[in-house]
Each structure stands twice: as structure tokens, then as C-alpha cells.
């Protein structure tokens, strides 16, 4: 059997999750203007909340997922209100926000570890035989992941580009001052993007939980991949970040064709450092001098 279709399919599966994370990052970066590492906390909580509802409390899957997305959204908004909003007043707020988001992430990770323990958990969906799709073996769950992500993106696009609120949100991200003079409530928009971004992370967490084992340590790699994807695409530009996610997934999975699979995680960061050096604005981004290197 030829291995290329399988690697591409694996790339699409990983890419779907990275794209969801990157879309959330990008949305929030537009208004918050810092890399919100606590995005990984909402992802982690989404995954574990779904697990707790479905496996520990025995709720139906659909209800569990709805609750998990709500919990992730609530957590994201709470972090914003309790930590980021007060920090906006500080003198060195860029550094403070970034490091505080790291702190919040580690705190949530620690709480997950204490509540659920360090052992690996599994959603334990019945194992079904993989199907043959375009020359690659894909399990039903993987197919769900590949199809769910574009549906979410379609919904996001309709909201951002086809509703008044979406337009206001994009305006606020584009130019806060002008949006404010046009009567956009920037503060409400920030809360809304945080909610949306966190919901996306929650969805990503659930999808990963369905397919892979759950571990308390799975948050940080997801954050870093999401961030890398957002930067590869062009941070602050949601469609570009989504493309970046798929590109990263493909690059990683095609990369292990040549490299030992243990280096899979490192591939992303080699790509990241190359991008930071050569094209800090990303594939599709436009350069802003104050953000990129001088």
C-alpha cells in the first residue's frame, strides 16, 4: 500500500484540530493583542468536561459535548474578566498579560491533574474498523473530525462576514479607535471574541478526546501548535490561521516520512523559527512593523 495518502489523511486530521486552535487564537489576538496561552486551558477543560459528563456521569454524548463547550466558553470569559481586564491598566501590560496567561494555564492544568489524576484516560468509544477513503484507512471518529472542523469554520465565517455583530467585531479588531467612534462597544466585542475563541478551543478539545487518550499534559502541545499554525498563516487573520493549521498538520505528518517520529513535535518549531526569521507576518499576513522584528 502506498503510504502517501495515509500521511496526507493523518495530516488533515491533525490539521483540523490545529486549525480550530489557530482560529481561536487569531480571533482573540485581533482584540486582545497578545498570545493568550490560557487558550490551552480552555481546550484542556473542554476535553475533560466532555469526558467527565459522558463517562463519569453517564450523560448522552450530544449533551456532554454541549456542556463541555459551555464550560470551556465560561472559563475563557472568566479568565478574561478576572485576569486580563485588570491587567490592561498596567504599565508593562504586554509582558504581564503574556506571563499571566502562562500562569493561568499552569494553574488550570494543575487543577485538572489534581481532579482527574495523572493516569491516561480514554473515551472508550467502541473501536470500529477503519474505512478506505481515497486510499487511506480512516476510522469513523477521524472522519467526524475531518468533517466537523470545516462545518465549524463555515458557521464562524457566516457569523463574522454575514451578521452585523460579526462586522462590528471585525471592525473592532481592525481598528479599535475608529470602531469605537462608530459606536461599537469594543469591550463587549472583546468578551464576545473570548467566548467564541474559547468555544473553538473547547470543540478542538472534544474532538481530540474522542480520538486519542486524555492526559493532563496535552494542553501545552496543543497551544503551541495552535500558535505556530496561527503565525504560519498570519496571526490576526482568521482564514489564514485556519489554513496555517492545515499546513502545519500536513508538514508534520509528511515530515516524519524522513525523520524519526519522535521529532514530530520539533518539526513544528523548526518551521516556526524559520517563519519568525523570514516571514514573521505569516504566509498571508501583511507586515506590521511594531509587531514583527525591527
Amino acid at each position: 500500500m502506498d503510504i502517501l495518502p495515509q500521511l496526507i489523511m493523518n495530516g488533515l486530521i491533525a490539521g483540523s484540530v490545529y486549525a480550530l486552535m489557530a482560529a481561536g487564537f487569531s480571533l482573540m489576538y485581533g482584540l486582545q493583542r497578545f498570545m493568550n496561552v490560557a487558550h490551552g486551558a480552555t481546550y484542556l477543560v473542554g476535553a475533560f468536561a466532555a469526558y467527565a459528563c459522558a463517562r463519569l456521569a453517564g450523560m448522552p454524548l450530544a449533551l456532554s459535548f454541549a456542556i463541555a463547550v459551555l464550560v470551556a466558553t465560561g472559563l475563557g470569559v472568566a479568565i478574561n474578566q478576572l485576569v486580563y481586564v485588570p491587567l490592561q491598566r498596567q504599565k508593562e501590560k504586554d509582558r504581564a498579560l503574556l506571563l499571566a496567561s502562562f500562569g493561568v494555564f499552569l494553574l488550570v492544568e494543575a487543577i485538572i491533574l489534581m481532579v482527574f489524576g495523572a493516569d491516561v484516560k480514554s473515551f472508550g468509544l467502541p473501536v470500529r474498523k477503519g474505512m478506505d477513503v481515497l486510499g487511506a484507512v480512516v476510522t469513523p471518529v477521524q472522519l467526524v473530525i475531518i468533517l466537523a472542523a470545516p462545518l465549524v469554520f463555515l458557521g464562524l465565517w457566516l457569523f463574522l462576514y454575514r451578521t452585523r455583530t460579526g462586522t462590528a467585531l471585525r471592525a473592532a479588531a481592525d481598528n479599535e479607535a475608529i470602531a469605537r467612534t462608530m459606536g461599537v462597544n469594543v469591550r463587549a466585542m472583546t468578551t464576545l471574541t473570548t467566548a467564541l475563541g474559547s468555544a473553538l478551543a473547547g470543540v478542538a478539545g472534544i474532538l481530540v478526546a474522542l480520538e486519542q487518550n486524555l492526559e493532563h499534559s496535552m494542553g501545552l502541545p496543543a497551544v503551541l501548535k495552535g500558535l505556530t499554525a496561527a503565525i504560519i498563516g498570519g496571526i490576526g487573520n482568521v482564514p489564514a490561521a485556519i489554513l496555517g493549521g492545515y499546513l502545519l498538520g500536513l508538514a508534520e505528518n509528511l515530515g516524519i516520512w524522513y525523520l524519526p517520529s519522535g521529532y514530530k513535535d520539533a518539526i513544528a518549531f523548526v518551521i516556526l523559527i524559520l517563519f519568525l526569521l523570514v516571514r514573521p507576518q505569516g504566509f498571508f499576513g501583511t507586515r506590521r512593523r511594531e509587531e514583527a522584528g525591527g
Binding site: 497578545f34 498570545m35 485576569v83 485588570p86 491587567l87 498596567q90 504599565k91 508593562e92 504586554d94 509582558r95 504581564a96 503574556l98 506571563l99 499571566a100 502562562f102 500562569g103 493561568v104 494555564f105 499552569l106 494553574l107 492544568e109 494543575a110 487543577i111 491533574l113 489534581m114 489524576g117 495523572a118 493532563h216 501545552l220 503551541l224 500558535l227 505556530t228 503565525i231 524519526p260 519522535g262 521529532y263 513535535d265 520539533a266 513544528a268 518549531f269 523548526v270 516556526l272 523559527i273 519568525l276 526569521l277 514573521p280 509587531e291 514583527a292 522584528g293 525591527g294
Partner: protein, 304 residues
Amino acid sequence: MIEQYLLHLFIIACVYAILAMSLNLAVGFTGLLNLGHVAFYAIGAYTSALLAVGLGVPFWGGMLAGGCMAALFGYLLSFPTVRLKGDYLVLGTLGFTIIVEAVLKNWASLTRGPLGIAGIPKPRLLGLSLSPLPAYALLALAAALLTYWLLSLVVASPFGRTLKAIRDDEVAAGALGKDTFRAKAKALALSAFLAGVAGALYAHYITFIDPSSFSITETILIFSMVLVGGTASLLGSVAGAALLVLLPEPLRFLPIPSDIVGGMRQAIYALLLVLVILKRPQGLLGEDTLRDAWARARRRRKGA
């Protein structure tokens, strides 16, 4: 028994104090948000351990080699990263940490991968073994004091003032004719050298290292020490290191399972980090606290 335990904590605190002080040179004095510090620590530890176990190189040579190797990587890392600003620098250096971790785990023929390196010999001085705890504690103390002394000389020197100028206004420092790129590269190399020395000190004390001792979480721990103590304050970094090493220790005596203890340990320093950023952004002993206190006192006198 209790003395052994206290000496152990003292040695660990000294190692972290060196790490925090050297990180502070980059973060607090130069304004480089470097999340790659733990990679330098790992490089120093692995270099020294491999030289000792594989080639029988004595501790002192290994420590020096570990420091130099880390400095070399620090210097090399500065090329792609010091042109970057803010978030991008953070991400670039974080990426470096992850790449180094992946190499340690996967280049098994050199690093023995996840199995780690065991049986790292304890150092000897003038024919005497430094393996008894009090002797090693003295060694660690001497290293921490030397680091403090060296870094206080550096930050008070013209070079140190250049670094602070870069931190406060890089464009202005450049306009005054300072080669800001080279100054930052040198600061990063020196910071890395000291982290490498700390790595050797740790490796030859614990006598066993594996990639899990040098994870990203460790980077954030060292960063928290700097931030809690106060950026641009060497004494602050020492205090931050001591505080964060000692604070979770009482957990050890509680009858709870070990993964819960791990979680609580992390929760404590994460919470402390967030609280310090929110409530006391300059840290416990930050540079501007005295000035702030002075200003407050003056305001109060005027008000009275």
C-alpha cells in the same frame, strides 16, 4: 536525617538561585523575554554528565565545558531571536526549548534518550570527595555567591548600563552608537553560560538526569522565580528561588498521593505567579520599589 533534608533543599535552592539570577540578566536587565533558559540548563547538565560518564572528565572540566557549550548555544540562539520582539521572541525561545527536549529524547546514541544518564560521579576537590552533603552545600553556595558577585559587577559596568538602555529604549541606545545586537547576544551568552554551570552542578549532585528534568514547566518555574522576586533585582531572584523551592515543601509531609502533590506544587507557583503579576507587578524586591516607596513617603509628607 532532618539536617540531610535541609541541606538538600539548600543545594536545590542554590541551583535555582543561579538559574533565576542568570535568567534575570536576560529578562530583567536586558528586556529579553527568554523562555529557552531551561534548554541551556539541560545542555550544561548533559555536557558535563556525558563527559564525566563517557570520558571520565573531572567535574571541574565538565562544568566549564557545560557552561561553554550552553554559552555557545545562547550565542547561536541570539542570531535568529534577538531581532524579534515581545511575543515573537517568547515563542522563538520556547520553540528552542522544545527542539532541545526532542533532541535529548530522540538522539539516543548520544543522550541515551528517555532512559537518562545514571551514575554521574560526585566531584572531588584536591583529592577530597565532595559527596558528603555539607561539602556539596558549600560548593553550591560558593557557586551561587560567585554568580551573584559576577552578575552584580556586570550589571553595574558600562556594559550593564548598555543592556539597561537597550531594555528601556532600544532605538535610542542604537542611536547613541551602541551595537545593540552584539550587546544582546553577549548578554544571552553569559546568561546561558551560568545556566549551563547550574546544570552541571545539578547533574553531579543528583547523579541522574533525564529529559523530564528539563521540561517547559521548569522554564516557567524559573521565570516565576524571577518575576516573584522582582525583575532587574539579583537579590530578588535569590529570594524568589528560595521562596518557590521552599513553599511547596510542606506538601511532602501530607498523606496524599504523589500526582496530587505534583498538581498542588504546580498550582501553588502558578497561583503565586498570577497574583504577583496582578497585585505587585514589580515583584517582591523589584528595582522600582524603593523609588515607589520614596515617592509614596513624599506624597504622604506633603499631604500631612
